[in-house]
């Protein structure tokens, strides 16, 4: 495989393979010198047309731990400011000789466009509302680390599903690995159509919480909401926020996850985010190892023609 654009490209076997290889990279990350020479001489550029903390730093750290060279592109300090088009920017960067581009953009489908313009490996690091495959991989890996497997687990995905690329990739990945997914959201924050999604839908969080193994909270994406979809954030929190009181409804061993950045006090109460059963920081730590696995599998493990 040369590119990672959608979680669907991997299929269940591909996800399992990434998770299996990630174990090795977790071990590498725990060494006193967490660096291996596997991708020496390769160059990975991150092309971020949208802001990011976790994903960009995590990819950069992953590439560095594999001894690849890294370059960073951000819109605010580049010629994109002078009006250079995406296509020209990609071709300029490729002309310098890069092996992989990690692309984030606010429009769905951009990584597919980029792939058609360049010869190097393209990795989707989030395109609009569409997909965020490495997030889904690290979430599957994190759940597997706590529960051994996703098969048969009941997972509730709660919140702003409409604007969430994380929800799209994660629902695909969770269900491919045999989990039962329930989406919990106010009707205004659901996608226009759920046709073809193998999920149940509920508008009653309290009712769902008692029967889940994992509650996966989504960030309220105020920056993507162009119209008034909610009466107020306070009302949202009252009905869909994971408050301390709601945590008591969860089974004792249920896990709490969030892709970050978290809006403390909106989708998750401040103290809930810091509970031991909340895996939010584990997700970030695993993100580096999983992205090392992705980079290595795409750039290192196949012979190049």
């Amino acid at each position: 495989m040369k590119h990672l654009l959608s979680i669907a490209d991997l299929g269940a076997d591909g996800i399992e393979e990434v998770m299996r290889v990630s174990d090795s990279f977790v071990e590498v990350s725990e060494r006193a010198i967490p660096r291996v020479p596997a991708l020496r001489g390769k160059t990975v550029v991150s092309l971020f047309y949208e802001e990011s903390t976790r994903t960009r730093l995590s990819f950069e750290m992953a590439a560095k731990r594999l001894s690849a060279d890294t370059m960073n592109f951000s819109v605010s300090t580049s010629s994109a400011k002078k009006g250079e088009s995406l296509r020209d920017t990609c071709q300029t960067i490729e002309a310098m000789g890069v092996d992989a581009m990690v692309v984030r953009h606010s429009s769905a489908g951009v990584p597919w466009q980029v792939r058609s313009w360049v010869d190097c490996t393209v990795i989707n690091a989030g395109d609009g509302w569409h997909e965020h495959p490495t997030q889904a991989l690290l979430d599957c890996y994190t759940i597997r680390g706590s529960r051994g497997s996703l098969d048969g687990l009941r997972i509730a995905v709660v919140g702003d599903v409409k604007h969430s690329r994380v929800a799209r990739s994660n629902v695909l990945a969770f269900t491919m690995l045999g989990a039962e997914v329930t989406i919990v959201a106010p009707p205004t924050l659901l996608p226009p159509s759920l046709d073809g999604w193998p999920v149940a839908v509920s508008h009653d969080l309290d009712n769902v919480l008692a029967k889940v193994d994992v509650v996966y909270l989504l960030r309220m994406q105020a920056e993507r909401q162009s119209e008034a979809l909610l009466p107020s954030l306070r009302e949202y929190t009252a009905r869909y926020g994971l408050t301390r009181k709601r945590v008591d409804l969860l089974p004792e061993d249920a896990l709490i996850m969030h892709p970050g950045p978290i809006n403390r006090g909106v989708e998750i109460a401040a103290d809930v985010a810091d509970l031991p059963r909340s895996l939010i920081t584990r997700q970030v730590a695993n993100g580096v190892a999983v992205r090392m696995a992705v980079l290595f599998l795409l750039l290192g493990s196949e012979p190049r023609a």
Partner: protein, 196 residues
Amino acid sequence: MAERERAATPPYGGVFSARSQVMDAEDLRRAVTRIAHEIVERNHGLDGVVLIGLQTGGVPLARRLSEALSQIEGVAVPTGSIDVALFRDDIGIRPVIPEAVTDIPFDLTGLTVVLVDDVLFTGRTVRAALDALNAYGRPRAVQLAVMVDRGHRELPIRPDFVGKNLPTRHDEIVDVRDDGVDVGEKRPAGQETHRR
């Protein structure tokens, strides 16, 4: 081991087909016992000696050597394993994938490390292992124990302890298992033959 070589050398796919057995289970047991005695002799006991098996073929052998050593000297020898895939020099030339997780739960600084592998061939795996060990401290010395030395070295690497020297053709495959050692070759899938 045969499985690993089969998957990692062209033509990819195909199956290992054994042609002749060169060591049986008893030969293997005697070789393990002899190598264990040689390790004790060379190091004047087992003070500060640890075994590290190379994933995947060297790991069961390291375990057997560790058992033999503790029978001889009555002390437990710390035993770990290392996967060298990420340190190989042929990444990008052939499919390389981590086979297993490295497990070295101790600092190697000042210790004598005996690397254990089933077959010594080009020496490139051992070269990668020497690099990989760096991340775990600075050993006092590194020694190499292999069950079969089949020749065809491509690097200046020499084993300290050898179960059997076995001249081979470059395209042959040597398969070390718990119950013996076979030599054979790779055939296209569907043409496998069985030993004897």
